[in-house]
Amino acid sequence: MSSSRKSAAFCLLVSTALLSAGHTYEIGSAFSYPCHESLTRRSFDASSAPGESLFKETAIPLPLDNSWSAVLESMGKKVGASYEDEVNRFIAFSLILGARFPDVGHNSVFDANSMHELHSHPGAQSSHCLRRDDDNWAAGQERALERCFGVIQSGVERAVAEYRRPREEQLVKMRTFVDFYGQIDVYVWSPAFELGKTLHTVQDSFSHTVRSDDLRRIRHVMNALEFGPLNQPNRDGLIHSLEMDECDDGAASIAEVAVDAGADFLRYASMALAGDDTNAFEPFFETWMSYEPGCGVDNDFCGSKWAELARTDPTTTIINCSASLPAPSHRPGRRWIDAVILSLWFLLS
C-alpha cells in the first residue's frame, strides 16, 4: 500500500485529519515519512556554509536538562539531524519541533480528536497555506494567500520578539508527545521554535499551491476542506493532492526547491533577528511568494508543468466527512471509538 493510499485508508476509517491525512507535507510517524522534519533540517544545513551555523553567533545557552537531545534522537535517522556541535543540534531540534507543531501541537499524531481540531478548523488552514471553505473564486484565493503570507510575516515578528528577550528567557519549555511517556516538557530555543513553525507554512506553500514552472510564483491555492462532486475547482480551488505531500516520492522535485526556499527563509529571518528589523525579511516574499493572477483551472494554471501532479490523487470525498463531522466530543469515552477505528486501520494497513 503506497503512502498516499495508506493515508486515504486511514482517513476513511478515522474520519479525521491525521498523519499525512491530506492537509500538509507528511510528518514523521510509524506510518509516514518525516517530510517537514527532514526538509527543515536540510534547509537549516543549506542556510550556512558547511561547518558553520546561521545562529551560532547568538551564543545560545544550552539547557541543563538535556531531555531535548533524547527526543531528537528518537525522531530517527530519516530526519538526519546528526550534528557534532551541541548548539547546532539544539537549534536544529528547536526548528524541527517547531515545524511539527502546526500538524500535531502538543499532542500525539494518533490523538484523533486533537488532530481533527487542528486540521479541519477553517481558521487553521492558513498555517498550511490552504483555502478556507469560504475562500471562493479569485478574490477568495487572494484572501487565502494574504492570510498565508500573514502567518509567515507574523511568525518572523514573533521570532524577533523572542530574540529581544534576555538570553536566559529564550529557553522555554515546550510540551510535546513522545512514545510511552506521553506528554513531556522539553526545552527549545524560542526564536528557532517560532521560525520552525513558520517554516512549516513556507513548506506547505509549495505542496498546497500550483506554482510557475520555476516554482517562484504562486498561481493557484488548493482546498483541503471541500471535496468530491460538490467541489467546483474554479470556485473552491483544486482539491488538495495527496501526491503533492509526498516529499520523498512524487513531489520530490518540488520538495528540493522548497528546501532552497526554506534556507532563504532562514537566512532572511536571521538578518531580521540580527537587525531587529522585520523589513529585512521582505526580499524573501519577493523571491518566493509573489502571486501571479489570471491563472486558473480553465487555462491549466497558465500551462504550469505542475498542473498534472497537483491533480493526482486528490483527497477523496470520504475524507471530507471529517470536515463535516460535528466537533469531536471531549468526553474520554469518545477515545474508545477512536481507538477501535484506529485499530482497524492498523490491522488493515
Binding site: A30, G76, D111, F177, D179, Y181, R331
Partner: protein
Amino acid sequence: MTALTTQPRPIVYLAGVFFFASALFSAPAQAEQPLEDGPPEHDFFFELDAGLSWIAPNSTQTAVGFNMGWGGRFGLSFYKDYLRGFVHVSQSMWLRSEYESDLTPGALNVALGIGTVLFRGGIRSSIAVGTSTLLYDELFDDAGSTGWFLEVRPAGLRWSFGNWAIVLDPLTFALMAPQPRRPMPLRRSEFATRLGLEVML
C-alpha cells in the same frame, strides 16, 4: 472529575459482555462432563500463551498502543481447581509509533497470582501482582529499571482435552510501570487478547 467518573465504564461493560458471552458459549459445551470426571483435588499446572494488544484506551493522549508478547504460568490448583496459586512470567513488547515504527523488547513481568476455574472448567479468572522490568534503554530510563505490574484476566474461555486445555482470554488488562516515579513515569497499559495452552502435570 469527568475523566475519573466516565472512563472506567467501557471497561466494566466490556468485561461484563465477555463474561456473559463466555458463560453462554462455554457452559453448554462442558455440561456433559460429569462432576466426578473433573480435575483431581490438587495438582500442578503449567501454561504458555501469547497475546496481542493494539489500543491504549486508558490513555487520554493517544489511541494507539500496540503491544505483543508471550507469557508462562506455573502453579498449583486446589479444591478441584476452584482455587489456583501461580507464578507468572511474561514479556510485553511495545511498538514505537510516534516518530518511527520500531518494536521494542518492552518489559519483563514477574508476578504472583491467584485464580479460579468456574463453570465446570469452562471459564477461568485470575489476578497477578508483581514487578515489571525494562528490557532495553528507553529515552529517559535504562534497561533494568524495575517497578510494578498488575494483570487481571476476568474471563478466559477454556476447552479441556484430558490433561490439556486450550485457553482464550478475549480481554485481559495489564498495567506495567517499569519506572513509576514522577515527573516522567514510564507506564504502559495493555488490553490484550491472549491464546494459550495449559497442561495439568
